[in-house]
């Protein structure tokens, strides 16, 4: 037996120009917001102008990055935070990133499993995104999606990165406040003094604090922080044990996120953060455009690949030639 389809009334869609969606995004209409995010993801040239227009309306949202190892409990924590913010009547936006398959390009985006009921209840906007081959825990379109939610009046906007390892610190250049979530029982205290992800936290959260191992993780992190160093900010990163399941100390975490936002405003550190975010975005997009351009000009690229394979050219000369910087040698 085969699949049965309804051919008589087959659905037909009409393409709404992006310019026509802008008004609906600003009015907070979910369908328009979701569609704009898709177009940013797909990189439709037609959507560029509308996204530029929406960017002008943004700049109000507090962007919060939540990162940590796979299985630390990021989605569950975000779900608990949505509930806490919704209780205050705030419109929370969430971008939850999961990995794409390196083979098929497909993805299974499962963050919503732990979020959908809270999202439905609280008026939050939750969007799942696949990395589409981008390393670093975020995708190129993540921040464009943030722009769209920002223009639609969502704040805070929580970016939940893919489960990261030790060195994917890109989120620090995308968010105003970075929460690093550590799970108890994942290593000894030498893990806590390593460089990388633990250094970027504005707030440390330790998940599953109902477990006995959690207190050891908390003291290891506190020990690491007591040695000082880091970014040179006057902010002292708190270490907060939380349990998203029981809801224990979620309100405290929410308050710490709010306190960090206030700190950025009061000390003028906000301007420096904004500048860093803009710089990363410009450079990141430029890198992406270069890559795209070279892929389109595949014949030139192919010639250089052959030359490098046959060792007539080295990779760095080939890269310069590709950029049109042929002055050397």
């Amino acid at each position: 037996m085969t699949i049965v389809t309804h051919s008589r009334t087959a659905k037909r869609g009409t393409y709404t120009p992006s310019a026509a969606l802008v008004k609906d995004v600003l009015a907070g209409r979910a369908i328009a917001i979701a569609r704009m995010i898709s177009r940013a993801e797909e990189g439709y040239p037609e959507a560029a102008e509308a996204l530029a227009e929406l960017y002008k309306h943004g700049g109000n949202a507090h962007i919060v990055g939540i990162t940590g190892v796979p299985g630390a409990g990021k989605s569950t924590l975000v779900s608990a935070l949505i509930k806490a913010y919704a209780a205050e009547g705030r419109k929370v936006g969430v971008i939850a990133v999961d990995p794409s398959s390196p083979y098929s390009g497909g993805a299974i985006l499962g963050d919503r499993v732990r979020m959908s009921e809270t999202a439905a209840a609280g008026g939050a906007f939750v969007r799942s995104m696949a990395t589409r081959g981008h390393l670093g825990g975020l995708t190129r379109a993540t921040l464009q999606a943030v722009d769209v939610l920002d223009a639609a009046g969502y704040s805070p906007i929580i970016i939940e990165t893919v489960g990261v390892g030790q060195d994917e610190v890109e989120v620090v250049t995308a968010a105003h406040t970075v929460v690093v979530l550590s799970a108890p029982g994942l290593g000894d205290d030498i893990q806590a003094i390593k460089a990388g992800i633990l250094e970027i936290a504005d707030i440390h959260a330790v998940s599953k604090c109902d477990k006995p191992e959690a207190s050891a993780t908390v003291s290891a992190l506190q020990g690491m922080l007591s040695l000082g160093g880091g970014s040179g900010s006057h902010w002292t990163s708190p270490v907060l044990p939380v349990s998203a399941v029981s809801g224990e100390r979620i309100a405290e975490l929410k308050d710490a996120i709010g306190a960090h936002w206030a700190h950025l405003h009061d000390t003028g550190e906000l301007a420096a953060r904004q500048r860093a975010i803009c710089k990363t975005r410009i450079l990141g997009t430029a890198r992406h455009l270069f890559q795209q351009k070279f892929q389109q000009e595949s014949a030139t690229l192919e010639t250089h690949i052959r030359a490098v394979t046959e060792r007539r050219m080295d990779p760095s000369v080939a890269a310069r030639a590709l950029l049109g910087w042929e002055e050397i040698r």
């Binding site: 037996m1 085969t2 699949i3 049965v4 389809t5 309804h6 051919s7 008589r8 087959a10 659905k11 037909r12 869609g13 009409t14 393409y15 709404t16 979910a30 369908i31 917001i33 979701a34 569609r35 995010i37 898709s38 993801e41 797909e42 794409s100 398959s101 083979y103 098929s104 390009g105 497909g106 993805a107 299974i108 985006l109 499962g110 919503r112 499993v113 732990r114 959908s116 009921e117 999202a119 439905a120 906007f125 939750v126 969007r127 799942s128 696949a130 589409r132």
Partner: protein, 148 residues
């Protein structure tokens, strides 16, 4: 009602990345099949958002809109497919999201096919459907609908 393979219709009109919401509706705790289908679609290059168990039609429509999916695929083994799909399709119309295609799977007796198609379901996938046919059917439905 026709029995067809729409696979050949897939054209450049379709979106580059197909997004599918795989959902479980109502009091039905068996999601092995839904997860297998999610995996098949992933391996065909689609982005699959899984909702988890025990969702209401309203939850599913809400998620489908925020995720801007092309297709909602619902697996139902509980026997209450007729009222649940009717409600799902009604919610889609109510929210102005009729462009989202609805594919029904699971245990669905043939005598209920007409009622499901009548309520707005776009395709019914029987348990024994081959995986490549599930993929080409979805691609075909989206190609016929066009870009939105």
């Amino acid at each position: 009602m026709t029995e067809t393979n729409l696979g050949d219709a897939a054209t450049a009109e379709a979106p580059e990345t197909i997004r599918v919401l795989v959902a479980k509706l109502g009091l039905d705790g068996h999601d092995r099949g839904a997860k297998v289908v999610a995996r098949i679609l992933r391996d065909a290059g689609m982005e699959v958002i899984y909702t988890g168990l025990y969702k209401t039609p309203k939850d599913v429509v809400h998620a489908a809109i925020q995720e801007d999916v092309d297709v909602i695929g619902v697996s139902l083994l509980s026997g209450s497919h007729v009222p649940l799909f009717r409600e799902l399709c009604r919610c889609l119309r109510e929210e102005g999201a009729e462009h989202v295609l609805v594919v029904a799977g699971g245990v669905i007796p043939e005598q209920d096919y007409a009622a499901l198609l009548e309520s707005g379901v776009d395709a019914i996938v029987p348990q024994e459907a081959r995986s490549d046919l599930i993929v080409t059917t979805i691609e075909g439905l989206i190609a016929a609908r066009g870009r939105i």
